[in-house]
């Protein structure tokens, strides 16, 4: 029964906060387009590790916060993030058992989905023009995913997050 008592919740939310910080951190304009989607990656990790605790609705809340931080039309990233996390929560067991490279590829395609959904809603409600550079974050997220994964796994084990 001890599995059902949440533990180390603050660690998770702190990781979200740090991810948000990375998300708005200034970058040189050369690499600006390559910014990995930190918040999404961290959210995917927790949804994979503890799918019954951190899932679609937490993703929705984070999406709203990110929309506000970026000054975007409300609800865009909320919707995109909930959709992606839905896919993750459906397949969390398969994702967990993939070898790292396969997992990273899956994450990259999820990041593509995320950006496509954002572009699509943006196009419908507001303005937006399609550009292949939309998918650059998928590549950088692919590269960065193993490190995010290992780090968060260490954090989870050290602080015994359940």
């Amino acid at each position: 029964m001890s599995m059902h008592i949440p533990h180390g919740r603050w660690v998770v939310w702190l990781s979200f906060l740090v991810a948000m910080l990375f998300q708005i951190m200034p970058l040189p304009s050369l690499v600006e387009g390559w910014r990995p989607d930190w918040l999404l990656l961290v959210m995917i990790y927790w949804a994979m590790a503890l799918p019954h605790r951190y899932n679609i609705l937490s993703a929705w809340v984070l999406g709203v916060l990110l929309d506000i931080l970026l000054g975007a039309h409300l609800g865009i990233r909320a919707l995109a993030m909930s959709l992606v996390i839905y896919v993750v929560v459906l397949h969390f067991q398969r994702l967990r058992n993939f070898p790292m490279w396969q997992q990273a590829l899956m994450i990259a395609s999820l990041v593509c989905l995320y950006h496509l959904v954002i572009f699509w809603i943006q196009f419908v409600v507001d303005v937006g023009s399609f550009d292949v550079s939309l998918f650059l974050p998928a590549i950088s997220s692919l590269i960065i995913w193993p490190w995010v994964f290992w780090m968060l796994r260490r954090v989870r084990r050290i602080y015994k997050v359940r």
């Binding site: 949440p6 906060l17 948000m20 910080l21 998300q23 708005i24 951190m25 200034p26 970058l27 304009s29 600006e32 387009g33 910014r35 019954h52 605790r53 951190y54 899932n55 679609i56 609705l57 937490s58 993703a59 929705w60 999406g63 709203v64 916060l65 506000i68 931080l69 970026l70 000054g71 975007a72 039309h73 409300l74 609800g75 865009i76 909320a78 919707l79 909930s82 959709l83 839905y86 929560v89 459906l90 809603i121 943006q122 409600v125 507001d126 303005v127 937006g128 023009s129």
Partner: protein, 296 residues
């Protein structure tokens, strides 16, 4: 997550809920401005923290500047100051003359607006839009719709405020348009953003309009949002294609929108001023009006 929902609620249900909530947000976006403002006030410390690395880099660049560089910079600034003060003397004379003439004509005299210098915070914004974040917010009396200029010309307007920060929509954003006039002949136009930082588009310009490459566009003050007379852009190209019903005119913003650092927030109209700043300027304006009346 708090166990608001009993365990075992299906993921499909959660997703449906998330989608419904998102659609509500998407539709009600404009009405939720107060909510957004309070949440972004709560989040603004995050923006200040994110700004730290850039600020530290700046600070270290400044403190490691060599004596030689400082000397050079100082010299250049002195030279500029001399030039500026000479221009200012002439300007002062012209202003007095202008006030007298306006007094003779019985038109209202122009007033000095309140200004505050704001710094651009280096934080990322929505990649689809042209935004910058400033380090002044509602607490400094910033309001939505406030005009923002830099040393060269108009930069944009405030679209969103929180307690400590504000977000400025740049001239070049696709959704931004500003009423302008040509200084040479007072032709009135509207300059719209194109999504490119260095290009504005002038819409619905008749082919017979007297407009040339190099013309200076200043704000016309007609939209009651931007005060009159601030430089906005310079005409880059005029293309009068016979197949089109209007001439295709593009202009380049005078403010270097890609590397703005310090900006001026302007409180243009006395009736739009926040209360604490209102009193002195109003007193001044009534004095000037009295003087104008006396001149009549």
């Amino acid at each position: 997550m708090k166990p608001i929902f009993a365990r075992g609620i299906s993921n499909q249900f959660r997703l449906t809920l998330a989608i419904i909530l998102s659609v509500i947000l998407l539709v009600a976006n404009d009405r939720l401005e107060p909510v957004r403002q309070s949440i972004s006030s709560l989040l603004s410390p995050l923006q200040y923290v994110a700004n730290i690395p850039g600020a530290v880099l700046d600070w270290s660049a400044e403190s490691f500047a060599t004596r030689d560089m400082l000397k050079k910079q100082n010299k250049e600034l002195l030279r500029q100051q001399l030039l500026m003060s000479e221009r200012l003397q002439r300007f002062e004379h012209l202003r007095q003359e202008n006030d007298r003439l306006r007094g003779l004509l019985g038109s209202p005299v122009h007033m000095d607006a309140k200004k505050v210098v704001a710094e651009v915070m280096e934080v990322a914004s929505d990649p689809y839009r042209h935004y910058v974040v400033l380090n002044h917010g509602a607490r400094s009396g910033v309001f939505v719709g406030q005009p923002v200029v830099d040393a060269h010309g108009v930069v944009g307007q405030v679209v969103e405020i929180s307690e400590l920060t504000s977000r400025v929509l740049l001239l070049s954003d696709v959704t931004h348009a500003i009423p302008v006039r040509i200084t040479r002949n007072d032709v009135r136009l509207i300059a719209q953003g194109t999504g490119e930082l260095d290009e504005l588009e002038l819409r619905h310009v008749a082919k017979s309009t007297d407009i040339r490459v190099g013309d200076l566009l200043v704000s016309s003050g007609l939209g009651k949002r931007f005060p009159e007379g601030y430089p906005v852009a310079r005409i880059m190209s005029v293309d009068k294609d016979d197949g089109q019903s209007y001439a295709k005119v593009t202009a380049q913003p005078l403010a270097a929108l890609d590397r703005i650092r310090y900006l001026l927030l302007i409180w243009p109209d006395e009736n739009e001023l926040p209360t604490e700043a209102k009193a002195p300027i109003e007193a001044e304006s009534t004095e000037v009006q009295k003087a104008a009346e006396a001149n009549q």
